[in-house]
Symmetry: C2
Subunit: 249 residues, 2 copies
């Protein structure tokens, strides 16, 4: 769990890995990012990193753990509209709106980097990084569309299956998947608030997936035992996450 700055520079932090997936970076770009990724701090689970109504500025990156974008209803109901996994960057610099329309909070203990406005501009001044960040933003938007599809036209079980497939691809992109497994350090209530269901129903749907031999969960580690069948049932096609042909299963 401990991250040594030297280690980051050597192996590359998740943000670097992710952006490299979108296009080749120069040595100097990597160095800039590595430096940037070394300035991390810890945030406990359930903490708000950004509140709705905050003035947008700077950037926020996740290097460990899961965070999310979410909104609340007056009755307390929460809807999660995006996961921020290691390597993901929220860029508030480009936001032309004067207030942020959603909150950002952690779903687990997270290691994060807060980038001040000036530092953010320095990073964006590097063409390759600017391009990478922009690509990442477009992918995030494609994910939003796919989630709309998920909520509107897939059943409970399919929604979970689709989400798990998406996360596998995203975790692989930052080197955090091990075969068809990855750590999913979030609660069933979080899954419920993601998929528009109840935690009770999430529990039952997970049970269904387990009984069908499609997934397995040991502690926080999720394994997609039968990825082809999962992908088929969820009609998961990873094209929205990549430029080219995805990694083989």
């Amino acid at each position: 769990m401990k991250v040594v700055p030297g280690g980051i520079a050597a192996t590359g932090g998740p943000v670097l890995r992710k952006l490299q997936g979108f296009g080749r970076l120069e040595e100097a770009d990597a160095t800039a990012l590595a430096l940037f990724e070394s300035g991390t701090r810890l945030a406990p689970s359930g903490a708000d990193l950004i509140c709705e109504g905050d003035r947008p500025e700077g950037m926020l990156a996740i290097t460990e753990g899961f965070a999310c974008r979410y909104k609340l209803r007056e009755n307390g109901a929460r809807q999660i509209m995006a996961y921020l996994i290691p390597g993901d960057v929220c860029d508030f610099e480009s936001s032309v709106l004067d207030r942020i329309d959603h909150a950002v909070g952690t779903l687990s203990t997270c290691r994060i980097v807060r980038v001040a406005p000036e530092a953010a501009r320095d990073l964006r001044a590097r063409p390759a990084l600017e391009r990478g960040l922009r690509t990442a933003a477009l992918v995030d938007e494609a994910i939003l569309r796919e989630w709309i599809m998920n909520l509107g036209r897939r059943s409970a079980v399919e929604r979970l299956a689709h989400l798990f497939c998406e996360l596998l691809v995203r975790m692989r992109a930052v080197g955090l998947a091990f075969g068809n497994s990855y750590d999913l350090p979030i609660t069933q209530l979080d899954l419920a608030d993601t998929t528009g269901m109840t935690s009770v129903h999430v529990n039952r749907s997970l049970g269904e997936l387990k009984r069908a031999g499609l997934i397995e969960r040991k502690g926080k580690r999720l394994t997609l035992c039968d990825l082809p069948r999962l992908m088929e049932m969820a009609e998961f096609r990873p094209n929205y996450l990549h430029r080219e042909v995805p990694v083989a299963a």
Copy 2:
């Protein structure tokens, strides 16, 4: 229905009106846009303007009618993930992905403008227009998030109410709302595919809204009879559509 080029230049087409809402434009910007908006063509209802898998290039603008972004499931189920109303622009130039992940189709007869890649770059070369288009894209993304909230955490009636409120604000921004009314030239099936429901259930929910005296529909014209109550029941807060304080009801 007929649009005279001179008329557009004089009154300003919907795209111009929309972008002006995001920030002041120079005369030359307006002229460039007006010229651009004069090159329209008609598309019949139910036509595909962009197919999933197309290579992204150029831009596409709507000046009359309703279009949408959508995806299909293998069983034919459709999910609409965005409405394109007059003034809206789909920009495929900035898409770094090599294939479009969704289709764009008309929901009614539409007047559209297809902008070739070079022309699109000419427009973006104007700083004010570039800024405006970028703001528009960010608003579109905010709308996606709000739709996720809608699908995940609002009831059938609330979803419709929220959608109608959002469309009122958006139609006002392009001068196409008359008081609390506007033309909604789409079918109940389209509403169903937007809100993740069935056309049957849309019909019943609309009936509920009508019986409650909240909306009224005469032909294609929708009237929000009791906007305050509608906004309250849907917890509609237009902050995600604007920079500043919205127009009073």
